[in-house]
Assembly symmetry: none
DNA sequence: TATGAATGAGATTTCATTCAT
DNA sequence: CATGAATGAAATCTCATTCAT
């Protein structure tokens, strides 16, 4: 029973290695299947195609990540946000969750976020950015309500979402140790919150 | 007279288009030369190889960019930096210069910065980050001198250089109009300067 | 059962033919695969590359040849060489062995020895010459011991090794029948032995 | 006036260099003309084609060599060969002539004899062998007249012609200095003469 | 369940040669 | 006298994918 999965897991492990080293486009199914000690034909038994093989590597971590973010956001928004002072603390929670998720599946997520060009996942970073962006937009609207004569700076909003995601991408790319990563990311997130509050609104007209 | 360069320019224009659409790796010399109405052999009369063709597209803009940055930095450092308050204004100059350079050759630089994976230029963004990082490190050391008991946060320094470059990459990617671009980038740079001053130093030990 | 190797053997047979006719460099994988009734891609399923295809043709005969020579030499040297008069007879054994090996795989060895320019095998004749040369040098040193005031003529030693190898190359090139070949090679080898004994030593200074 | 030949001579010198390094087949007209600082088109002004360029390099030395050999042979045969004892001395003359000719145009002749595969000159060594062979055959017939019951060993005759030519090819390949070359070739030629006399005739059936 | 042979289309690159100017 | 642009065909090699067995 378990044996049936052995080959599949070997395949996925080898695929992960190759994708990480060469990126999706340059990865070769031949060399992956050779490394996994099977034929190219076998790959097509386990997965639909090359893109499906990438899916086998990244789908689960991706789902976990998306779910966790969305769950966090729904709590975040439904909570009564009396003051934005609490944001920093919230971000600490968010950072801890993200780092725990990211480092549990670091290789797969590195592939997904940085090495998936050419696959159906190549726009995934933009999707994440959009997710963050939508959430932050809701937040910004509440914030703006307190400042008549101000309006949301859309470019800033988009760019900050972009930077927030890339802060995590940069982190898992450059820092292998999750504990140090948590220490590194905190001032980064603080800076982003401060920047958010200082610049997310601009003068109307 | 001008006719002599016609074909070459047609080739480079078509190459630019293809690189922009597909990226270096997936760009096809066949389809480039077909679009430029010549044989693949002819491409090799004009350029050494595929990488050389990319060079023909990006080398000049790249040189201009690097020279301008380096020149700016040497002025910047040699100037007497009595107070860091002036930094914001300095950044305005830098931003204007960058935007003018970036938008004069937007397509070529988009290719260089975002679509050059697989070519000899693929590390260029990291090179630029390093350039900024070295400059900022020198700045940070002067800054740190005024705060005993503090030391430079190396991760923050590197990440901020990274973000600074990517702010410009993001800008030319998402904003086609240089005047609007200048307006968009200003609060971004302000935010980075504020973040820099607030977080570039950390408590020693 | 045997059918599984059919295509591979067809390929190797066609490659042998083409290499023999055109030499390695001018041989075309396209025309080889066309002759073998398969696509060029299929060639790369069976072999690593063009050089590997040549290997598939010549490796086995080459190994046999090298092993046989080396084995003969180790017997030859370890034997008690009381008198050099026996050399002629020894050479008969050597000649018989060589001819039997050479004519068992005549086409492959013709390719290897005369048509492999441009491949990784192109220095193989020199390697064989060196092998013979080293062996003959050891022999010459024993011989020289009996003649004080004489020393080994290095150029002659090298040239004779060269001629010995080329005598066999010439033989398989010009004589298709192994029995006649054996008859032809005998006086040639006799002449080389006589020449060796008469000229391998020169007056010291 | 002389200037007109400057470019041509530069071209030929560069061609000589490239042919020597890469051999005729792998030599590239592009790289030759680039080295000679002219366009590929210009090559076709000076020479008919690639083969003609090789001709420009080797024709003159080749003619000199052929003429000298033929002249020597006609003297040799017309002379009254009472005894074959004189042959050794004759060979000394021949050797001196050959070395003088070969080393006057060493590079060109090296190309001709060893690097002309793929060109119209690729059979030149065989032509020279045939020239020698025909001459030696005439000699052998005179020799045979003195030994009834013997006949010419055709294979030996051909092989010895082959070896004689290759002795010179080997010489210019391995020995750069003409004086040392003359010293090296003498025992080689002696050996060949002795071998000739001992083995050129075989028992008639 | 898995194999291994094979495809077919594509990739980049090189080359001798030509010819209008 | 010489150029420089261009051709066109061929070269080797790589790849994801398929399918009979």
């Amino acid at each position: 029973m378990e044996k049936e999965n052995e080959a599949r897991e070997r395949l996925i492990a080898c695929a992960k290695k190759e994708f990480l080293e060469k990126g999706f486009s340059k990865a070769s199914l031949r060399s992956i299947s050779a490394a996994a000690d099977m034929t190219t034909g076998a790959v097509y038994f386990f997965c639909k195609d090359k893109n499906g093989l990438l899916g086998a590597v990244v789908d689960e971590p991706l789902q976990k990540l998306m779910n966790a973010i969305q769950e966090h956001f729904s709590e975040d928004l439904s909570a009564d946000i009396a003051s934005f002072q609490h944001k920093a603390g919230d971000h600490d929670d968010f950072a801890e969750m993200m780092i725990s998720l990211l480092y549990d599946n670091r290789d797969a997520l590195l592939i997904l976020l940085e090495k998936s060009a050419g696959s159906s996942y190549e726009g995934i970073v933009d999707d994440l950015v959009e997710l963050i962006e939508r959430h932050n937009y809701a937040l910004a609207e509440k914030y703006a309500a307190a400042f008549p004569g101000k309006r949301i700076n859309d470019y800033m909003l988009h760019w900050l979402a972009h930077v927030e995601i890339n802060a995590y991408v940069h982190l898992i790319t450059h820092e292998a140790d999750p504990e140090r990563a948590l220490k590194e990311i905190k001032p980064v997130m603080d800076m982003l919150v401060e920047g958010w509050m200082a610049h997310i609104l601009e003068d109307a007209d």
